[in-house]
């Protein structure tokens, strides 16, 4: 269905350092020290039927931190995000060059099972997409199909608690998830991802369909979650990136312009284009 060409010959010898020599590479990679890289992109180019959406991006994601990927619409940030748990497998005509690593494992290795990968790397989508089933079954379905042998009820409660939704839904677990508000639905989707106890949660503009109150609740939640999980969040809301993330990467037209600690990125970015973007001069 999807043809993936992973060429290690180019990327394999490249320095793992973010400051690779590729055009459009980050000006400097001052990542926080001592954090093992849980996810890594090495010179990744992703194209849709030949048209590149992501061009030669190299990026690292430290464990138990929140990394925000920002950039104007169509800069390829969602495409990049979705490639980390191979959701692009479901898109017709996608080609990927370069390497995507999870704990040093090339995720496109033929021996890698994308389903196992997705257990480690969960995902929350742009629009809340609960299953048209009860709240309980939304959370319980994932563990069930993966033959979770613990107490599922307990797991559901835990996950809902972690997603800060438990108190609102504990009395109506058997109601349809479609009856929840948009913000609640999104937290349910987060709970659903948490129930699989992933290590990484990819969030693709999780608040873009939500009202400000729901948004701030989710942001609080992200703050809680990063104690246990590694979070990669794509957003085009600069304030959100500044509030929730530790590291920020700025993409433009598929290229990584700059990556650095969030404070630095928003106060004294090295690149002129980053400065223009974060100060709202364009985009």
């Amino acid at each position: 269905m999807v043809k993936l060409n992973v060429q290690l010959s180019k990327a394999g010898s490249a320095a793992p350092d973010a400051a690779s020599s590729t055009q459009g590479a980050p000006a400097a990679g001052t990542l926080p020290d001592g954090d093992p890289r849980i996810l890594e992109a090495r010179n990744v180019t992703i194209s849709y039927s030949g048209n590149p959406a992501v061009r030669g991006v190299s990026l690292e994601f430290p464990e138990r931190k929140v990394t925000a990927i920002i950039g104007p619409s169509g800069c390829g940030k969602s495409t990049l995000l979705r490639s980390f748990n191979r959701m692009n497998d479901f898109v017709e005509g996608v080609g990927i060059d370069g390497q995507l690593l999870y704990r040093g494992i090339d995720i496109h290795d033929p021996r890698v099972d994308p389903m196992e990968l997705r257990l480690k790397i969960g995902m929350v989508f742009q629009k809340p997409n609960p299953f048209p089933k009860s709240i309980y079954r939304n959370v319980a379905w994932g563990p069930k199909i993966n033959r979770y042998d613990g107490n599922i009820k307990q797991l559901v409660e835990e996950s809902l608690r972690k997603a800060a939704l438990w108190d609102e839904v504990k009395d109506r677990l058997d109601d349809s998830a479609l009856g929840l508000s948009g913000g609640q639905q999104q937290r349910l989707c987060i709970a659903r991802a948490l129930a699989m106890s992933p290590e990484v949660i990819l969030m693709d503009e999780p608040c873009s369909a939500l009202d400000p109150v729901s948004t701030s609740r989710i942001e609080d939640l992200i703050f809680e979650l990063k104690k246990t999980f590694t979070i990669v969040i794509v957003t085009h809301n600069m304030q959100q990136a500044a509030r929730v993330s530790d590291t920020t990467a700025f993409l433009e037209l598929g290229k990584l312009i700059e990556v650095g600690e969030t404070d630095q990125m928003f106060t004294k970015p090295r690149e002129k284009r980053t400065e223009d973007y974060v100060s709202g001069r364009f985009g």
Binding site: M1, N85, M87, F90, E92, M115, E116, R118, L119, G122, M123, F125, K127, N129, P130, F131, P132, K133, W141, G142, I145, N146, L178, C189, R192, A193, A195, M196
Partner: protein, 293 residues
């Protein structure tokens, strides 16, 4: 505006008049179709009403019109439809799942798709010939219920596949992605989320295809289904007759009384079909109201 209108005022009026006539003609013709339906139903009702009574439903056919009924034919149709459903629904839905969810875009699958579309246009009598050659003769299933059901199944398979594919395609992709994102396999995703969501659409399509199987006559004639049968079938390997066959044989008789019987049979047939149609519409509308993504 007025200045413009003055210039060639008559011409514009003439063009407007033509447009109005055209619209009225189109409108008249489409309502004529409605009238036709009404005339057809009224004609059948007026011809057959006198023959429609409880005896008509409980008697078997007879050479005496006043004693003839559709008991065996009705049960034969029931046998035929249930058997056909058992064979064709799983096959058709499975084929639809394959084509929508599993098939990669390659030559084989494109060929299957084109093939399904073309099969839908093959005349039913040709399916009857196939049934005669393969099921009746080669497999030795004669004119039994099972031969009729297999033939009907092949005939309505394209209908089921097409309807089920449309229903499956209407399930939003976000649901599939949500399932994949928590490590579900393709089949787990399809079985737990896509199929339940597509179910109302599939059921609607299945009901409509079953009503097609109920009304079809030609394939039954070719496999040699008899019309004069005095008992309902007791199993898959027995001869049977069906309601449309019975109607056909009565309508083909020269005597006016038998035409009345045929009309009464048609009333029963149409009532069954209308009920099925109404159920399908009901399910479709309820599903639309219930599920909003």
């Amino acid at each position: 505006m007025n200045l413009l209108a003055v210039d060639g005022h008559d011409k514009i009026r003439y063009r407007r008049l033509k447009a109005r006539i055209f619209q009225s003609t189109c409108c008249g013709l489409v309502w004529m179709c409605v009238a036709l339906l009404a005339v057809l139903l009224f004609h059948v009702a007026s011809e057959g009403f006198a023959y429609l009574n409880l005896d008509f439903l409980t008697n078997n056919t007879s050479y005496k019109p006043e004693k003839a009924g559709i008991h065996a034919a009705l049960l034969g149709t029931l046998w035929l439809v249930v058997t056909t459903a058992v064979i064709s629904i799983p096959t058709g839905v499975a084929a639809a799942i394959y084509l929508e969810e599993f098939a990669k875009k390659n030559r084989i699958n494109t060929f299957i798709e084109v093939n399904v579309a073309n099969l839908a246009g093959v005349p039913s009598i040709v399916f009857g010939m196939l049934g005669l050659a393969i099921f009746s003769r080669l497999f030795g299933l004669k004119n039994w219920v099972i031969a009729g059901a297999l033939t009907m199944s092949l005939l309505i398979l394209p209908v089921i596949i097409t309807a089920a594919r449309e229903a499956i395609r209407a399930v939003p992709n976000s649901i599939r992605l949500a399932a994949y994102a928590i490590g579900a396999s393709k089949w787990q995703t399809v079985a737990a989320h896509v199929l339940p969501a597509a179910l109302p659409g599939i059921v609607t399509g299945v009901i409509l295809s079953m009503s097609r199987a109920i009304g079809e006559t030609a394939p039954l004639i070719t496999i040699g289904v008899p019309v004069f049968i005095l008992h309902a079938p007791g199993g898959l390997n027995e001869s049977f007759t069906a309601l449309p066959m019975q109607i056909y044989s009565w309508a083909a008789m020269p005597q006016k009384e038998f035409h009345g019987l045929a009309a009464a049979g048609i009333i029963v047939l149409l009532t069954v079909l209308l009920l099925m149609n109404a159920t399908a519409v009901f399910i479709r509308q309820r599903a639309q109201r219930k599920l909003k993504w």
